[in-house]
């Protein structure tokens, strides 16, 4: 493949991705391209399928149909080992951190290093301290347990764990949920810094418009299982799309209707 052709292949290409749970079609034909080295933020209402989208890429949920290409290779057509190798190049920051309660902070951060690279525990500890420093945490934090950390510190540790193995593709699930606005801005700043430093491609999902504007090179709106709009973050508030307009301005009236169960 020529250099031009390689450059034309996006880091992640999703075509016709569908996933349903029972009668509910959560993803209904997602088409998405994420060029290498860029940050895409996917916005959308609660239950719109944002997390399902990420979990399909990470192999945590098996989609019903469609293709997911990483560097031009279809993940869904790979065997188990190939899929595992591909997932090993990805990192994920979970919404609630998902830190392992039974391990101290440094082992949480070094978990992927120990699992993937077979480094010794002493070396892993050193590398965990270095990654903790990148997210603004002192090495002494490494000896604490996840339950001893504040919400902001848990997010930082979870971020450190996600970037510890220098992944090519990073996912952030609601990175600022549950944080105060200042801590949210700090976490967003850290995300932008680490993505730039690692040269990674990033996909974040969020409801938080301020967070989206800070992180994104590009924003996509997910509604009823489809991408209904995609554009630059500075055009988000003036998109002219009625769905995006209602969502970004938080209006009750509009094409987005909330389903209430009685």
């Amino acid at each position: 493949m020529s250099d031009a052709a390689v450059a034309a292949v996006p880091k992640l290409r999703i075509r016709g991705l569908r996933k349903g749970f029972g009668a509910k079609q959560v993803l209904d034909g997602i088409d998405l391209d994420v060029p290498a080295g860029t940050s895409l933020v996917v916005i959308g209402g609660s239950g719109s399928g944002k997390s399902v989208l990420i979990k399909c890429v990470l192999g945590l949920i098996e989609p019903d149909a469609g293709t997911i290409e990483l560097d031009g290779r279809n993940l869904l057509a790979m065997d188990r080992e190939g899929r595992e190798r591909a997932v090993a190049t990805m990192g994920m920051l979970f919404q609630n951190g998902a830190l392992f309660d039974s391990l101290p902070v440094w082992e949480n951060v070094a978990f992927g290093l120990l699992a993937r690279h077979r480094v010794g525990r002493r070396e892993a500890r050193g590398r965990a301290d270095a990654v903790l420093a990148q997210v603004g945490l002192a090495p002494s934090v490494g000896d604490l347990w996840p339950a001893e950390l504040s919400g902001g510190m848990q997010k930082r540790v979870a971020l450190a764990r996600a970037i510890a193995a220098a992944p090519d593709l990073l996912f952030f699930d609601e990175p600022t949920t549950g944080l105060d606005p200042i801590m949210g801005a700090v976490i967003d700043g850290l995300i932008v810094d680490v993505v730039k430093r690692l040269g990674s491609t990033a996909i974040a999902i969020t409801h938080d418009m301020a967070s989206a504007m800070r992180i994104a090179d590009s924003v996509a709106m997910l509604h009823k299982g489809r991408i209904v709009w995609q554009g630059a973050p500075d055009t988000l508030m003036t998109s002219g799309n009625a769905i995006v307009d209602q969502f970004t301005h938080g209006r009750r009236e509009g094409p987005i209707t909330m389903e209430l169960r009685r």
Partner: protein, 274 residues
């Protein structure tokens, strides 16, 4: 000719009967499906025990959790069981002037049945519940998904070490339970019933055979595996929040207890009925 009312009521009765049959059929299919899921889960867990990479630290941790920390409750259960058994058999055997058989009755009951079964039930209530709660919490807080994103197979890291530890730890606990059960009988026989201690121990050793102890230990290994299997299966597949974890914990203890008693019968048939 039957009246219209009789035909209608006959049809309604038939409909109710068919509904009942359909309900029984649905329940049977659900049970069969659940048994299939548990069998596949067990097969996957066992296959991960023998395939690298191995996690000796997780096995050690599980051994401590299932074995070491269950020791006090199993020890107390065993010693009191031995004491009660000696006391009950003394009153029962006295009717046939066969009090000298107390030692043999205690040792055979403890090694063949009560040691493994009671230890299994105690461990199911303690360690099985803890396993289901831990894995259930990990499931609902995305920690199991996080393992997958960190290139770690959750079945290999979480389930396989617990299955292995369950099958190893319970036989070790049963060795202790056997000794303490016999000790409980010895205490009552000598201090309460006036037996000669030396004679009691001699009777005990004369009656017990290697097969009695070995069959109890094999039962214990199977029960330990079942306790770990039901703890892991219910925790790993728990859904929802705190309520889901609570339901998984209850299901783990109840299903493990029932399986222990069912497999006890099957294993007894295999070992002792010819």
């Amino acid at each position: 000719m039957p009246s219209l009312n009789a035909i209608v009521s006959g049809a309604a009765l038939m409909e109710r009967l068919l509904d009942a049959v359909a309900a029984i059929g649905k329940a049977a299919i659900a049970v069969a499906r659940q048994c299939g899921r548990i069998t596949l889960f067990a097969a996957e867990g066992v296959s991960q025990i023998v395939r690298p990479p191995f996690y000796p630290r997780m096995v050690g941790r599980s051994l401590a959790e299932i074995g070491y920390f269950s020791l006090p409750v199993v020890a107390l259960t065993a010693i009191f069981t031995g004491m009660v058994l000696a006391l009950q058999s003394a009153t029962g055997l006295a009717r046939f002037s066969a009090e000298t058989q107390i030692a043999s009755l205690v040792v055979l009951s403890v090694t063949r049945e009560l040691g493994p079964v009671l230890a299994g039930l105690m461990v199911a209530g303690r360690a099985g519940a803890a396993m289901a709660a831990e894995l259930g919490t990990m499931r609902v807080t995305d920690q199991i998904d996080a393992l997958t994103t960190l290139s770690t197979n959750p079945m290999k890291y979480l389930v396989a070490p617990r299955l292995l530890a369950g099958a190893i730890a319970l036989p070790l606990l049963v060795v202790v339970a056997d000794i303490l059960g016999v000790l409980g009988g010895y205490i009552i026989a000598t201090l309460r019933l006036g037996f000669n201690g030396h004679v009691y121990l001699e009777n005990t050793l004369n009656f017990v055979q290697t097969q009695d102890v070995v069959s109890g230990l094999v039962k214990a290994a199977v029960f330990g595996f079942l306790v770990a299997l039901m703890g892991c299966y219910n925790g790993y597949n728990s859904k929802g929040g705190a309520q889901g974890v609570g339901s998984a914990t209850t299901a783990a203890v109840v299903s493990a207890s029932v399986l222990i008693l069912a497999f006890d019968y099957v294993l007894t048939e295999i070992f002792f009925v010819r």
